[in-house]
Symmetry: C2
Subunit: 337 residues, 2 copies
Amino acid sequence: MKKKATLADVAAAAGVSKMTASRALRGVRDVSKINIARVREAAQELGYVGNFLAASLSSQRSDLIGVVVPNLTNIVFAQVLSGISEGIAGSGVQPVFGVTDYDLDKEYDIIRNMLSWQPAGLIVTGLDLPEQTRRLLENAEIPVVQIMDVDGDPVDACVGFSHIRSGEEIAQALLGAGLRKFGYAGCALTMDVRAAKRRIGFQRALIQNGLDFVEEVEAFELSSIAAGRSLTEQLLTKAPDLDCIYYSNDDVAAGGLFYCIEAGIAVPDQVALAGFNGLSIASGFPGRIATVRTPRREIGKQAAGIICSALEGKVVSGTSVELVPQVDLGLLEGRRG
Amino acid sequence: MKKKATLADVAAAAGVSKMTASRALRGVRDVSKINIARVREAAQELGYVGNFLAASLSSQRSDLIGVVVPNLTNIVFAQVLSGISEGIAGSGVQPVFGVTDYDLDKEYDIIRNMLSWQPAGLIVTGLDLPEQTRRLLENAEIPVVQIMDVDGDPVDACVGFSHIRSGEEIAQALLGAGLRKFGYAGCALTMDVRAAKRRIGFQRALIQNGLDFVEEVEAFELSSIAAGRSLTEQLLTKAPDLDCIYYSNDDVAAGGLFYCIEAGIAVPDQVALAGFNGLSIASGFPGRIATVRTPRREIGKQAAGIICSALEGKVVSGTSVELVPQVDLGLLEGRRG
DNA sequence: ACTGATATGGATACCGGTACCGATACCAGT
DNA sequence: ACTGGTATCGGTACCGGTATCCATATCAGT
């Protein structure tokens, strides 16, 4: 095999025209069974693979949808992607992923790059986009679904939940369980806008009840178990009498839990821990961490669904799907203050 | 903005020919500063984005590299991807990811699909490919780097480590620490070929020492903490006097550790746990789980490096880079049987 | 002023497919 | 035999860029 076989080669080998070969391989319109077989065989024989570039340049459509997420080491986004895969199953479109590492310039570049592939639609994480990025999306003339958040104004459509409200709600639940002395431990809040929103919501609920965080600590690295351990240690050193720590997410909270277990601190009796996301890591010690369970797969699935229905011509601009995450107090459940 | 601007529009707006506009935007050859400025401005004005499909169809190259991994919910692969990103930094190539979910048919489809984008290179997880998939890669005429394994025969090049040997080595280390009654707990071994290889290596070392697994349990779901918990419970019920459990990886092992902590079983004194990968989840309880630390980012980085040097014309076919993972006994360190 | 080198711009021919429309063959009906 | 319909194919013109080669302009040196 010296040179990659093209459709013309296949057609020649099958003794038909390029057009007939093209139709035969795509299974479209009327081609005689005999020719379909001949073309298939020739393609097989030559190891013909097809050229997506030429095909979609010519047909002016592409079956590609771009998916932009900030991070993959946080399983949350891996689950969103898997939801997307589920949502597009059978629709013939194919997702292409891009990871921004929470870097806004990189995000702009990635989106621009994706647009240059002429995708049929785009799924982008977050609502808070820089002006320039937003313009890019507005001018793209393809359906754009923003995910994971609804606290803001989408370019086109969005699927997610309110982080502010979810912070408020778990705060209220914890207050309802009688907790009063709250600490906060978070990672990378300047980058993770949504974690910051949750903190705001949580704090707002505290203030409404005449309280506030007694102490706060922050790490600038990305969230991790290790960061959770050390933040918890810091926090409990500064303020040993806390009765609850709110973390920016479950990874950090799990680190806190592990620290407490080793330090012999009873969770949740001596100090309660609350995180966010309902991650499986927290299920290592069922119920010990209060959390907010978020419908990640569902978000991916619905986002994909919106893109698909947009491709079928439905108008999706303006749709905003708010899913409701669920507060899970774990072992604190049923406790009364 | 009614219609997407093309290069011709930009050229017209800038008062130059398509070619000059093309050259100006790519910064190639000599274009007068004045025209570069004019074209840039026109492009900006029109929100021109460029068309990757047309560009690479025309130039017959694509600076795309396809990356195929089995799974994203296992952080290992996310880290490999991040290593790849690092490895290609500055080289101008762009990675595109595909996830197979350990499904061989899906793998074939994804690879085929990627090839249809005319990528400049491919990075594929694993050496054990079905015949058909292998042929596809062999005929592709682009550099193919297979990662995560070296126990086998690569299509082109590979970067990884020996799973068989890594199983043997940790077994020997555990034997050296005086452990004798081994159990095995694994997830999805038929799908995860490499986990199966580690088990083989481990068992081989046991047999060489006149031992074998006392008891084995397997779950058919993908590895998870929850699976680790329940497998461990099963295993210790069947064989309460085990002094060491070897798990298919650290996720499962972490589940085991959590189970033991809650059940009041001292780790590693009463029963030692050994996993694979050196995942951060195991760092929640430092040293409690023996593991084999694998250079995941490094694998990604080197794989990307190989692709890049192939693109510069170097012959890479036949290169096989074996990295050496590191046995970490954790708290068992220094113990003597 | 003429020559050659250097810098810069454009015309043309593709890249590998597909849309669109017209051509051909074959057959039933009258 | 002729007409019209159906089924099946092929020719041509693109899609939006880039490679290649040629044309022109400019300028220093003699």
